[in-house]
Symmetry: C2
Subunit: 336 residues, 2 copies
């Protein structure tokens, strides 16, 4: 009996396996056209779906009252937050599998400051780059703060962790130092780390921008999540810009051991994978596939889908397979 | 010539000596009676004085136009920030000695969330403590964000660094892990790290609160600043609560090698150092002296004074000596 109990209790030193790393795409959670503007409805919906995915029940039971963990005042709200400490103290637990990591993009935060100053090019001797570094961090960390708060309002025990403050740095734009021990400690303590693309120090260039996608790739290599979900503002990866009426959604992409990828579904596009890059004038999708391919090669399924839909809800639960005809999105997986 | 030039350029590995660690006391920068309310005027004034202290000139020359580094929108401000990138790019440099570290208290941020949940007592198995941990961090990091922005608006290249995200942790409330390498890297790159009292993980208790004063003590031991300044809402340390009309400001306190301290000025209180603790019903001042005494024993002068006064301006510049009859505040120094 004692042994059984010991087995059920995870050892304090062995990290629990991470279930899912979620990318909240900048395009999905901010209004791209407007400087530093959050898409409140999309963010709220993504957080609610994440909570649902974490819930141990399949969502058939009546959802309990959400235990909000943002006890701060909101801007313009004159009332102090109400906290029913007695009720919360009496709760048996969260009833969640909180073993998720959230990474978000910048969207309409940070880009203005970074592009005006050229932070990604480095050179901190330049006053403009130094000021831009500070301004970029202020902008992306203020978005991080709002996302942590939105998650906390949905009862998700989220903790903001800025890569710069965590000591993450690059060398010639490639990740050089990226200690994840505090992320692992936080997961182990039952918190959901929330990271973001950030301005970081670079050994050769002085500084640069570290993207959320690179963070996800690194954490996937390190922590082997069961699956990775990219939430964006379109249904997945298309063979050309999704605004093109002839654009075709790529349903399934297979990645070989050597990293080359091919379109499995729809069948008509098979053998035509060069077509994506040629059509992709927005420049984002080829990069997205290549980043996702690195993760898929590790044997981790990657789901790219539209935030705030039934498809994102299923992806966050890991309830997607290559046989799911009614699931709208792109699966990127290993050919093995 | 080459050798001279090499000597002028600090080596990339050797950290520059830190000039000053500044504590922005919670009482000085927030409105204590009102939940999560910043004392904007006091904060602005503290940031302006800090900038003045960093300036290489003695402030005799006309101050240049401030290079604001907060390019984010402010709440309720409909206009996009104006950034004159060309002018900034043409600037020769900041003309600052940025080798400062800022640590701030919580004031009316964080205390409500921490005390309602008992985060300092630990026990993350309790839903209340877990929620309170998240809520406390949201509150203190939102204050940190506002302080970083206020410093950046004054042209100080500030970067927020949360102790929790930096991986700082405690064991039975005593600092157990507190790697300062990212703080040193940031200083070396010309940034001003801005830390704060935070909720952190504790090896034995699960979690607790790490105070700003403990952070300052640790950083002083590690980085040997020339002097340490505590900015607060009263003129310094008194022999009894400063609201008492008979309260006497302690002008100079001497700390022995063994850590015991004695009042040097005013002379009438000499030999009466037990009196402070007896009178100090607020409980804060005895702790403050003890924390400061640890720093003073290292041979580092500690100045405790009122924010937003000519006395704080002089303290931030390090322009205070035990002969300064016209300086209002408390000097805590080693007897050696």
């Amino acid at each position: 009996m004692a042994e059984e109990a010991a087995q059920e209790q995870p050892s304090p030193t062995a990290p629990r396996p991470v279930r899912c790393i979620v990318k909240l795409g900048g395009a999905a959670i901010t209004n791209k056209g407007e400087l530093e503007s959050i898409n409140e409805e999309s963010l709220r919906s993504a957080c609610a779906q994440l909570r649902q995915a974490m819930s141990e029940s399949d969502g058939d039971g009546a959802p309990g009252k959400v235990l909000g963990m943002d006890w701060s005042r909101r801007h313009g709200d004159p009332a102090d937050p109400a906290v029913d400490a007695e009720r919360i103290a009496g709760m048996a637990g969260l009833g969640f599998d909180t073993n998720f990591i959230v990474v978000h993009g910048a969207g309409s935060f940070g880009h203005f400051q970074a592009s005006r100053s050229g932070v990604h090019k480095g050179g901190l001797h330049s006053t403009l780059v130094k000021a831009g570094f500070v301004a970029t961090r202020i902008s992306v960390t203020s978005l991080n703060q709002e996302i942590v708060r939105a998650l906390a309002r949905e009862g998700i025990p989220s903790v903001g962790m800025s890569p710069f403050a965590c000591g993450w740095s690059t060398k010639q734009r490639k990740l050089a130092s990226a200690d994840a021990s505090q992320i692992i400690q936080s997961l182990h303590a039952g918190f959901v780390p929330v990271l973001h693309g950030d301005a970081v120090l670079d050994e050769l260039l002085d500084c640069t921008i570290l993207s959320g996608d690179v963070i996800i790739r690194h954490l996937s290599q390190l922590l082997s999540p069961k699956y990775v979900v990219f939430l964006t503002d379109v249904h997945g990866v298309y063979d050309r810009p999704p605004t093109d009426p002839n654009a075709v959604l790529l349903r399934e992409i297979e990645v070989d051991d050597n990293g080359s990828w091919s379109i499995v579904k729809p069948a008509l596009l098979q053998g035509n994978n060069k077509g994506v890059a040629a059509h992709d004038t927005t420049g984002g999708m080829e990069t997205k596939i290549l980043e996702a391919a690195v993760i898929a090669r590790l044997g981790i399924d990657v789901y790219i889908t539209k935030a705030g839909t039934e498809h994102s809800q299923r992806a966050l639960k890991g309830d997607v397979s290559t046989d799911s005809e009614d699931w709208l999105g792109t699966i990127i997986r290993s050919s093995k």
